[in-house]
């Protein structure tokens, strides 16, 4: 018994070191901009950079749009699969896993071939339509995570009986979706939303190839031209991602404490 516990602890320590040492190194490096002393000057420069603010804002807005479209697409689909078409579940699950398998660069080249300025639907013809195309590509990238999160949330409630109860009380489908189903999978939707936000904020390939002023290309640009600021940006990006994960835990724990047991 003791031997296996020591083994577990060794594994945890090695894993933690493997993860933390480069992070600590990056953080330490980011504090060295001012020679001879540690300072947050690299962070000040980054946060004061108008391009940082613009690209972060752009990616945030795009992330929010991606989340809204993703939820509107995935929630009714997952609900309908669970309620009426359970046989299609394996097919839908396979489709939602495709973005994990197909590299982002292949996806974006596909978009450019289909939606270039000389095609039947020239979405790359203007900035706004390119933004729309980028948002759709983010919805695709985030699909595996959003679908899994929402489907898990739907499995935790008795979708069929709640739907029938609402219907017997006179509710139509939009009422059922927005007043009964959505409020009861809110936590799952938020989990998917935070995962989507973390993905969009850090995404580089699609934003770069579609030439949009997103946060990912900005990170790459700073990394190619500066020394200490990229380290600071990397730490900021990690903090944003960890904040998203932390919020998922907070909302998930809070919901578990108040989740009713109607069984």
């Amino acid at each position: 018994m003791k031997r296996s516990r020591i083994g577990s602890w060794i594994a945890i320590v090695v894993g933690a070191l493997y993860f933390l040492v480069p992070l600590i190194g990056t953080f330490e490096f980011s504090l060295r901009l001012r020679r001879g002393e540690y300072s947050f000057e690299a962070y000040e420069i980054v946060l004061a950079d108008p391009r940082f603010q613009a690209s972060f804002l752009y990616s945030t807005v795009l992330a929010l749009a991606t989340i809204v479209v993703g939820v509107l697409l995935v929630l009714p689909t997952a609900y309908w699969i669970q309620l009426r078409l359970p046989r299609l579940r394996p097919i839908v699950e396979f489709i939602t896993l495709l973005p994990l398998v197909i590299p982002a660069i292949v996806l974006v080249f596909g978009y450019l071939r289909i939606y270039n300025s000389s095609s039947w639907l020239p979405l790359t013809g203007s900035e706004r339509t390119t933004d729309l195309l980028l948002m759709c590509s983010y919805v695709t990238l985030a699909l595996p995570y959003m679908y899994r999160a929402i489907e898990t949330g739907l499995r935790a409630i008795d979708v069929r009986t709640l739907t029938e109860a609402a219907e017997s009380l006179g509710a139509n489908w939009p009422t059922i979706m927005f007043r009964v189903i959505f409020p009861n999978v809110r936590v799952a939707v938020l989990s998917g939303a935070f995962l989507t936000f973390a993905i969009v904020i850090g995404e580089f390939t699609m934003a770069s190839l579609l030439d949009r002023p997103a946060f990912g290309p900005y990170l790459q640009l700073i990394g190619a031209n500066r020394a200490y600021e990229p380290a600071a940006l990397a730490i900021i990006a990690f903090i944003v991602t960890w904040a998203c994960m932390g919020l998922i835990q907070v909302f998930g724990r809070g919901a578990r404490g108040s989740t009713p047991d109607t069984r």
């Binding site: 219907e167 009380l169 139509n172």
Partner: protein, 357 residues
Amino acid sequence: MAFLEIDNLRKAFGAQTVVQNFDLPVERGEFISFLGPSGCGKTTTLRMVAGFETPSSGAIRIDGREVTRLRPNQRNVGMVFQSYALFPNMTVAGNVGFGLRVANRPTAEIAARVEEMLKLIKLPALGGRYPYQLSGGQQQRVALARALAIKPQVLLLDEPLSALDAKIRVALREEIRNVQRNLGITTIYVTHDQEEALSMSDRIVVMNEGRIEQIGTPFEIYNFPRTRFVASFVGTLNILRGRVTDPAGGRIAIDDQEISAARGIVDAQAGETRSVALRPEAVSLDDVDGAHNKMQGTIEEVSFLGAIVRIRVRFRENAISLDTFNDPGIAPPQRGQPATVGFAREDLLVLEGAETS
């Protein structure tokens, strides 16, 4: 014309027919139970009345209006589910008022109706609680209030007490029946528990394998079962197999001991094997002077159950179980003791159909 008419209803899933030839007129204010074993089609029939299943053929009419193809939200029927199905994101008041909010009723009207319903189910102070903060019995009462708040034409209950423990079941079924009587609402209640059906219903529909076996009052179903299935499913029954000796006189030999029924044995020939049935409460032990039918046997088993002593008497191939009240002044009989059982001719039920011996 009946208030609720279920007319030659049939439901098939692929090649399997799960409900067939279902005809039932229900009067306004009646409490009807669908009683039967699991898989007999009672819930499927209820769901067709609710609109959650579409009949393969047949018709359903409520107060003269054809509702067979209408969606559930167009029928104005209230439904109470086995799993309560309260909306976890809403308070008790929110749940009860949900149907009224969907119907865009004024806020004041909703509040008044919710208060009225909470008083009806004796939970006036729990409007602000969430379902997870309630016991199972409380949740089911809230589910009942929610279904009644919209003033449905028909109330449907699908085994609403199955998930509750025995004591709460007994208390709650009386409450449900009282509420139903006070409101005079036409009700269909699905259960596999015969005690629930017998104690609550104006009439019982006994179902088996998708068909109606018998419709009648609890008294009729229990005392005059028309088929072997009804006789054995409702209440405890002793089934005795023997040879018919006098069909017209209703005489049959059970293990070479001749007994007789009050009526003749229909469509039977002498020498055929038939089954007869006897309720345990109709049988007396040893004090048999007044009994028309007497049979000699041996005590095979004695079970002391507190207020009741259950005794099984073995003849040869057949046995009879009977219940006697515990009497502290009289010791229960011993196994192996000879015994005489007696019962009236009227208590012997002849079950339909000849059997191969």
